[in-house]
Assembly symmetry: C2
Homo-oligomer: 174 residues x 2
């Protein structure tokens, strides 16, 4: 959607050389754009059975929170290790170099709850795939994944299949 | 407000021995409570001239985002070092042991913009005081500070004066 792309700031060589960083702060600085993003996501899932929203720390909180408020749904957060008090379960996943992990409260999601995972950006999909597994451990169901930005050339959507993916601003190449 | 306190989970000895951690995840898991929190904050500032919302990473994003959406105001984020692309300005502040710092985009806030700072919890007020100074550097004005939880026995409110402080759940002692 061009009205989303028009507000994204491209920053070369951040956080390291060769990376073209997508800065979402202009999107949220503009109240009309932020509302339109939230309403577009809400509209997309209007006829779906969604029981809760799961957001990934920390930019995911920004878009997930407004969406959970707008949709009137439970809001769940997935965090980096050590941020959530007990009891939590965690999952490790591979990065380009090394590994990272994510945590969620064991009581956060009900068995059978159908959740929508939201994050600001879909790249290779590693973090979101790990989040899916975390939800699976709690016997929740991932109904769909939504993103403001998708870097399609990194193949994240394929990695998340068969879960449906919806993104507002899709970049086919770098 | 008792309906807020009723949903807060007290976790002893987290993140370290002797600390009674206030867990806000049950607040946001309950859509009615999350809506009521957002609407209570919105209602409190309804007749104030507020031009923007500033939230502090990362639990501040949760409550700030929904509030910015509900109020139709620009949403600004203050982050830990190295998370925001250039150009940023930063500020250092003292912790119990050592120092920490916060960053914001130099173009984030307009000169003269009257902002509301929001975070999940007011403790000693060090982080929020640093955020006030950061906003001052951009020649913004801090109209008020709002919190879901205030640990009044730690004296943060006094440290933020004369800026008005509003909190939904105030704990007078530990």
């Amino acid at each position: 959607m061009d009205w989303v792309k028009a507000k994204i700031r491209n920053i070369p060589d951040f956080p390291k050389p060769g990376i073209l960083f997508k800065d979402i702060t202009p999107l949220i600085k503009c109240p009309e754009t932020f509302r339109r993003i939230t309403d577009a996501l809400h509209g997309h899932y209007h006829d779906e059975k969604i029981d809760g929203i799961v957001a990934i720390e920390s930019r995911g909180f920004i878009f997930g929170s407004a969406l959970a408020y707008a949709m009137g749904l439970p809001f769940h957060i997935v965090r980096k290790p050590g941020k959530l008090p007990p009891e939590t379960i965690d999952i490790s996943y591979d990065l380009e170099y090394g590994t990272d992990s994510l945590e969620i409260h064991t009581t956060q999601i009900e068995a059978g709850e159908r959740v929508l995972i939201i994050d600001d950006l879909l790249a290779t999909g590693g973090t979101v795939k790990a989040t899916k597994e975390l939800i699976g451990k709690l016997r929740g169901e991932v109904a769909a994944c939504a993103f403001v930005i998708e870097l399609a050339f990194l193949g994240g959507r394929k990695r998340l299949g068969p879960t449906p993916v919806f993104s507002l601003a899709i970049y086919e190449d770098e």
